[in-house]
Symmetry: C2
Subunit: 316 residues, 2 copies
Amino acid sequence: MSEKIVVGVDIGGTAIKVGICDLNGELLHTYEGPTETEKGSDAICNNIANYARLIVEQSPYSWDQVEGVGIGVAGFLDIPNGIIKFSPNLGFRNVPLKAFLEERLGKKVLVNNDANVAALGEAWAGAGRGVDHCVCYTLGTGVGGGIIIGGRIVEGFNGMAGELGHMSIVPDLEAIQCGCGKMGCLETVSSATGIIRMAKDAVERGDRTSLSFVPNIMAKDVIDAAKAGDEVASRIVARAAFYLGKSMAAVAVVLNPQRFIIGGGVSKAGEFLFEQIREVFQKATPEVAVEGVEIVPAILGNNAGVVGAAGLIIRS
Amino acid sequence: MSEKIVVGVDIGGTAIKVGICDLNGELLHTYEGPTETEKGSDAICNNIANYARLIVEQSPYSWDQVEGVGIGVAGFLDIPNGIIKFSPNLGFRNVPLKAFLEERLGKKVLVNNDANVAALGEAWAGAGRGVDHCVCYTLGTGVGGGIIIGGRIVEGFNGMAGELGHMSIVPDLEAIQCGCGKMGCLETVSSATGIIRMAKDAVERGDRTSLSFVPNIMAKDVIDAAKAGDEVASRIVARAAFYLGKSMAAVAVVLNPQRFIIGGGVSKAGEFLFEQIREVFQKATPEVAVEGVEIVPAILGNNAGVVGAAGLIIRS
């Protein structure tokens, strides 16, 4: 056990997940402990440090083998300095996480936002393994994203790169307002929330659909109904797929990635959804930018964050 | 004169332009000679080598001071190997330009496509000087583009990154077919060709416009008419600006560049056009991705190609 390892930390509002990866991105061990958000930012930071130490102690590896510790966290970050400027779900304001952990752990620490880190996980050791240029979409409550070029996260000038859910893509006439305040963002139609909203609108409008009999519509209900042939549900899923495909067509001519990777709850719709996305993508993208480009499902699931956080140490 | 210099070559269908830059991107000397396309690819390659030698001989610098020679050329390229796979206007097919010139000149040679090279020129030594992340649009016969992240050209997996003119951005109901075969590309509305087409359509439809009295409408005529208050022309320019702004809004959340740089003939419309683009951009982009982001005119004009070609040697 003389080889080097990297530790990844995925900080959520209720649990902190820690993982050990080898330098190829193989996830060797994981550990999960409570975040204890209610105890405040000092306690959370101590928990992170403790869990990182603990997982290594409990593993066959020694602390000397640790190359560094990567952290993924939701919020507005000063990435180069590893400062959490604002993280609503942790209650963090201007917490210098990198400096604190480097002091406590005596290792190189890198911090990045959760969506970027999940994208790096998939690109490094998941559905993008071996591929230099990947763009990842996460279809959950919102639509998250991350851009990997040359194996590294693209952060942008203010750390706002990869905010794919806020591509203004729905034409004005059909657009509704997004949580970000703008009209027609991708996540208004292609997130679980967007799908549920369209379904509820259809039911309220009195459209004939099996969804009328579902008490509390979830995105999965809409997808299942679409798969079963319900026309209204099919139209909704087709619309979600349409704007995903259109947004990928735009990204394809901007960045020409080799692989689009789609994860998150909605992506569990599987080939039924992916085929529709690919069809729109191919129709809207010049052939030279379609050639060799794949649209594939994410494979790491909830581990993408912890693997990608570890990957920060290798890929930066 | 002991400092290092870089040589840039911009190969056009009728002329080859050569320039000497210092390592800060200052253009010190230029020379232009005929391409002699009619003589075939060997003759063109010899001309490139000769003009590169000649400009240095005629300058106060010696060949020893040359760090390398960068080349910008229109066409489909194998960028890493510097092979021109196909260049219609030069008649090149599978010409190993990099290998030929490295042999002939005894210097490092790098080849990239003309739009990427012009973008690098502006980013390195023009309107993007000092800015790490720039996205450049060239509004000419088509809409060209180039993406500079961390000071370097983003080429993409097949060299197709930065093809901003082929963002599928016009909604299906209003879309027309682009030269690339797809519907609704940005260049169908925001290029000179697109503006002229919309103007001719308006005249043919019998819309009341001063453009009816213009014998052979150019994009400049439409812009001038719009500036003079012609409603039809104003609508056309607003439409060109609208989709430019929308495309920048999309790029802003994908890459979060600090600066958008717009060049090419249509950009000469100046603030009249830029103000409209900025308004749409701000309306369609989440505030956090607008903050600190500028939309500015290119400043190098026709020298962007030769400066950016020289820049390949520094920025790669």
